[in-house]
Point group: C2
């Protein structure tokens, strides 16, 4: 088999996604650590357009953009688990929600934690609306695709794995069981999956980084 390398950082959610799918598929790979504040010549060579992690290298061929990489992994290592349905309609629906996650949910939730004052109030209201849409989509389901964890669960993994860190640092609870019953139940189901439990982002480092991120603003604004 051709060599697989992942250029990324364990602190980046978009890299975590790709690393999780590689792990689920049982693909051996080398993790080439990238410092997000100091872009390496390797990253600039392999993702000259966006200059962003993650980048997957497979037999020397680079692929950028986490959703594109995940579909590539799914199509290249066809063995179990099947993370994305074989049915074109179910696949289209999963891709629709993945796009919604990246274009709306993630920026919307991040805005609720990265802004201050009145801007935060507005951003929090918007984030709640977005999360209610996700909650509705999860109604009556264990995971997005049914009984087993799959593509869209990993794509949405920021909510169970990153959000609690931000909530803890800011003392601000966004996803509670009362407002979001289905989403909250999904978060619990998600965190119970053994392969997820073993691969949670490094909690101490995450707390440290997010505290660093918010502290200068708290002091100066």
């Amino acid at each position: 088999m051709a060599e697989v390398k992942l250029i990324g950082s364990p602190l980046s959610f978009y890299c975590w996604r790709v690393a999780m799918v590689l792990k689920m598929k049982g693909v051996d790979y080398e993790y080439i650590l990238e410092d997000p504040r100091n872009k390496s010549p390797l990253l600039l060579k392999y993702n000259p357009i966006h200059k962003k992690i993650p980048v997957l290298l497979h037999g020397g061929n680079p692929i950028a953009e986490s959703l594109v990489i995940i579909e590539y992994i799914h199509e290249t290592w066809k063995e179990n688990p099947i993370i994305l349905s074989e049915d074109p309609y179910e696949r289209a629906i999963a891709r629709f929600w993945a796009k919604f996650t990246d274009e709306k949910v993630i920026p919307g939730v991040w805005a609720a934690f990265s802004t201050r004052g009145e801007a935060r109030e507005k951003a929090t209201e918007s984030a709640i609306e977005l999360l209610k849409t996700v909650d509705q989509e999860l109604k009556g389901k264990k995971f997005f695709g049914g009984e087993a964890i799959g593509y869209l669960d990993i794509v949405m993994g920021l909510i169970p794995c990153w959000l609690p860190i931000w909530e803890e640092v800011l003392g601000m609870k966004l996803v509670d069981a009362e407002t979001f019953p289905s989403l909250h139940a999904w978060v619990e189901n998600f965190l119970e999956v053994p392969i997820i439990k073993e691969s949670l982002p490094p909690r101490d480092e995450m707390l440290h980084i997010f505290r660093q991120y918010i502290s200068p603003s708290t002091a100066t604004k």
Copy 2:
């Protein structure tokens, strides 16, 4: 076969994309015309999240987001032409560029035509940089995927089919043969394809709409 309907407008580039792929695949469908200024109950029912055209209905099942719809059509009507490569790496590269087109190229080019004064100067500079990236990708190629028109050509179809309308109305040439030799040659190749020639957007209406769009701003700013 289940009934196929497209909710959209021939003036919308995103709808044109989907209509082109249906035509290339020889899929019979009913075009349900939507007035972009007055959203119908049908649109709100079938795309409650974004409330945007195009929406494809296949046997009553709705699919939104043009790139998602195009992949669905490609996977559902597998007969010729194969618009997206069977090779996972080539497919990943095509998806990377499609994402780049929708997130960067189209908004960037539109900004160059929809802004005024200093903002337009800046937007034009950015648009030129984006188009140079596309030009580079097309170097030595007849179409994005090789010798035949395919997925990424249709995704990028704004440049040969919409841009000239905007250039004509504003008397502002963006894509010339000197600055963008490969892109310019591709536009010519693209417009020579019989199925494209038969399906160009309605020129008079396009000119009319874009003139209406720009005239109030020209008068008041």
